[in-house]
Symmetry: C2
Subunit: 151 residues, 2 copies
């Protein structure tokens, strides 16, 4: 038996929206991520960042994407997990220390698989918003979602 | 004076390719990333992963993206850093423990800005390949690149 709160392809509807919990970003998280994955001055050094395009420390776009994934895993309870075939991300606004982020996900499209009857491809738009509801990231991603198993 | 090995918009050519260093992925890195950003069984638990779609532990796609960024920062020495407005990623093949990754970047397009004379938008394709030269990620990203300052 599966948990009653898990979501299958059959349960999804185009237009449905899901709101995530919040994540508060700070300087240390930004620097820790950057040291490992995006070692550039505007992500690693508050002083050096002042004289860059960003005029201050900003999170790596990939850090914003990773936080978005964490918030998505917690807010879209798909039965088989969040399995993405890919996605398109834009970062219209930098994410900065102190930002309180949440994700609003919206189902854009549901396409049953032609070759595999047990699953479909679901297109989801995930907006990562800051405390002022400004969009820091827009991600459109395609997820593999399974049908509810037959009894 | 800027460092002689830094690359400006003027120095880029469509079709030019850049090869990165290598990054070897292991179980602990995969689990550490997943605990923070993508806490799902197929990224966190070798045993639980066996009964999932992936039939074993795989890295989060966002982990592959983050490693790609690290390799890109080291291999494409743009004068103003790697500043992306966004990108589209596909993960045609899972990244697994023991994979030795490198990134091949290719300039697809160079578009001078119409409104800002000092910069342009460069489209780059970044293929993240494993030790068998299989594509684990294809990323197409648009980067802001500055012109060489006038003397």
């Amino acid at each position: 038996m599966t948990k009653p709160d898990l979501v299958f392809l059959d349960d999804l509807a185009v237009g449905a929206e899901y709101r995530s919990a919040e994540h508060v970003l700070d300087v240390q998280q930004i620097i820790d991520f950057a040291r490992q994955f995006d070692p550039q001055p505007f992500h690693m050094d508050e002083n050096a960042a002042k004289s860059t395009l960003f005029q201050g420390l900003v999170a790596s776009g990939w850090h914003t994407a990773a936080i978005t994934m964490k918030l998505l895993v917690g807010s879209l309870p798909l039965s088989n997990g969040i399995v993405g075939a890919g996605g398109e991300a834009q970062w219209p606004r930098a994410t900065r220390p102190g930002d309180r982020l949440h994700v609003m996900s919206k189902i854009l499209d549901i396409a049953p698989s032609r070759s595999k009857q047990d699953r479909g491809m679901v297109t989801v738009e995930c907006l990562t918003l800051n405390q002022d509801d400004e969009v820091c990231q827009r991600l459109v991603t395609k997820l593999v979602v399974f049908r509810r198993p037959q009894a």
